[in-house]
């Protein structure tokens, strides 16, 4: 059923991939050896750790452990999302519930109704799918959230004039939301449209390597891509809606205190 193991020798040979960038660094005289080595080591250690604790989680397959692990992922995702949006951590209490609602709604629906998992919290499905939903939602939400607040900030006088003209926060910010949302969804749609031609999605490839027949792997992939679509849209819009209370003051103006002071190290 599972894929054949990779031998230790095979794993060592896999790392021979590093020879190529190192050769290029040497020819071009770029000193990025240390950085490359560190990121590859980090990736490997992190994945071995994931392998270790996923084994534990799969063995126990307890609803509490599985849900607890997902909550932990949600915390890490909220933290990273805010950090990369150029906002302060005070947004956490607004971003976390938005992600929590978006991800769990989609996850539960797909687990119960589409994949018909029994039990619904079955770790080999529940945990990785949650991770995929969260990972994909995060990058889109970052684009939209960052763009939404930074564009209002740079148009602040024009936005203020709209608020003074009687616009509520939602009315005055709607044009900015529209632009920010489009900036996020257009590249995403382009990516989805080329799936299967340009790129074979990782999950499907993994399943086939693991011995699943392509026709089943394709069905899972389609369902997952649609689940990602639902989770992404829901997280994006809920994060913006939930953030409004913190992002604007009682008078309806932009709360500039939400922005992280610029140091040139964000993103």
């Amino acid at each position: 059923m599972g894929a054949a193991d990779i031998s230790n020798g095979g794993m060592i040979l896999a790392f021979s991939a590093l020879i190529i960038p190192f050769a290029i660094f040497m020819i071009l005289g770029i000193d990025l050896y240390k950085e490359t080595l560190i990121s590859v080591i980090r990736m490997s250690v992190q994945l071995f750790l994931v392998g270790f604790y996923l084994t534990v989680i799969f063995d126990y397959n307890s609803p509490f452990i599985n849900c607890g692990y997902i909550l932990l992922m949600l915390c890490a995702a909220s933290y990273s999302l805010i950090r990369n949006s150029g906002l302060k951590m005070t947004m956490f209490s607004h971003v976390f519930p938005a992600l929590l609602i978006a991800i769990t709604t989609v996850l539960l629906f797909y687990s119960f109704a589409v994949f018909e998992n029994d039990p619904f919290y079955d770790a080999p499905y529940f945990v990785p799918v949650a991770g995929m939903l969260l990972g994909n939602s995060m990058s889109r939400t970052i684009v939209t959230l960052e763009r939404f607040y930074s564009s209002i900030k740079s148009d602040n006088d024009g936005f203020t004039a709209s608020v003074i003209m009687g616009g509520s926060i939602t009315e005055a910010s709607r044009p900015y939301l529209r632009t920010a949302y489009k900036a996020g969804i257009l590249p995403y749609l382009a990516g989805v449209a080329t799936t299967g031609i340009v790129a074979l999605p990782g999950m499907m490839t993994g399943q086939m390597l693991g011995g699943t027949v392509p026709s089943i792997a394709v069905k899972y992939q389609i369902a997952i891509l649609l689940a990602i679509l639902a989770a992404t849209e829901l997280s994006t819009i809920l994060t913006i809606i939930f953030s409004l209370r913190k992002g604007f003051n009682a008078m309806g103006f932009l709360n500039e205190a939400i922005f992280k002071p610029k140091k040139g190290s964000s993103k």
């Binding site: 564009s151 740079s154 148009d155 006088d157 024009g158 203020t160 004039a161 709209s162 608020v163 003074i164 003209m165 009687g166 616009g167 509520s168 009315e171 005055a172 044009p175 900015y176 529209r178 632009t179 009682a250 008078m251 309806g252 103006f253």
Partner: protein
């Protein structure tokens, strides 16, 4: 229409102006003067509620400026910043119509002919209506924003250098329109001398500046 009682504004421990009091009666046209950096734009933003005042009270149309009264106050208010920057794609006509879509303005009717007549009063070409707002020159943006404010039937106008990007002919046209309307109360920050001279009252911020905190 506007009353400031003993207002003090500070950013952190830097006082911009203190104990400033003045009144703007209905129909009055006021110029705020003072050296650059004296807090003229800050005063406008304080009257709008954007910049909070540390001390004192502000009454707009007999109502105290606070979040509870904001909706009512804003039905009378129009603010035109020095640079009207709208980065989103929006045609000039949609820009003008936008506030009419706000719930708070439901009872105000958009009258196209009135818009066209204001366009000709302010020497704006009708063709501009289909242009993208961000493609307009600074002066055109200011005049289009004025048209929007007048169409919204606002009574109190706060202008921040509203003629800064205009030539003299257009400045005079706008002045003739505004200064001849007794129903409009106006408070403006301006460096245009003909504009300042025509204002019925001047507020000099210099005496209210805090000398200690430069």
């Amino acid at each position: 229409m506007i009353e400031a009682k003993d207002i003090t504004v500070a950013f952190g421990d830097r006082t911009i102006f203190e104990n400033l009091s003045f009144k703007a009666l209905k129909g009055e046209k006021i110029a705020v003067t003072g050296k650059s950096g004296s807090g003229k734009s800050t005063l406008l933003k304080t009257l709008l509620g954007v910049v909070p005042n540390k001390k004192g009270t502000i009454l707009i149309a007999e109502k105290e400026l606070n979040p509870e009264n904001a909706i009512e106050i804003r039905k009378k208010l129009c603010y035109i910043p020095q640079n009207v920057i709208i980065s989103n794609e929006i045609t000039v006509e949609d820009y003008i119509k936008m506030p009419f879509t706000f719930r708070a303005n439901r009872e105000i009717e958009f009258i196209r002919d009135e818009m066209l007549s204001l366009f000709s009063t302010f020497s704006l070409e009708k063709e501009l209506l289909t242009h993208d707002f961000s493609s307009l020159s600074g002066g055109e943006k200011q005049r289009v924003s004025l048209v929007r404010g007048f169409l919204m039937k606002r009574e109190i106008f706060l202008f921040d250098e509203v003629t800064s990007a205009l030539d003299e002919t257009n400045t005079v046209k706008i002045m003739d329109y505004i200064f001849n309307r007794d129903d409009i109360t106006m408070l403006s920050v301006s460096h245009t001398s003909i504009w300042i001279e025509r204002c019925s009252k001047k507020i000099d911020l210099e005496p209210f500046r805090n000398n200690g905190g430069k």
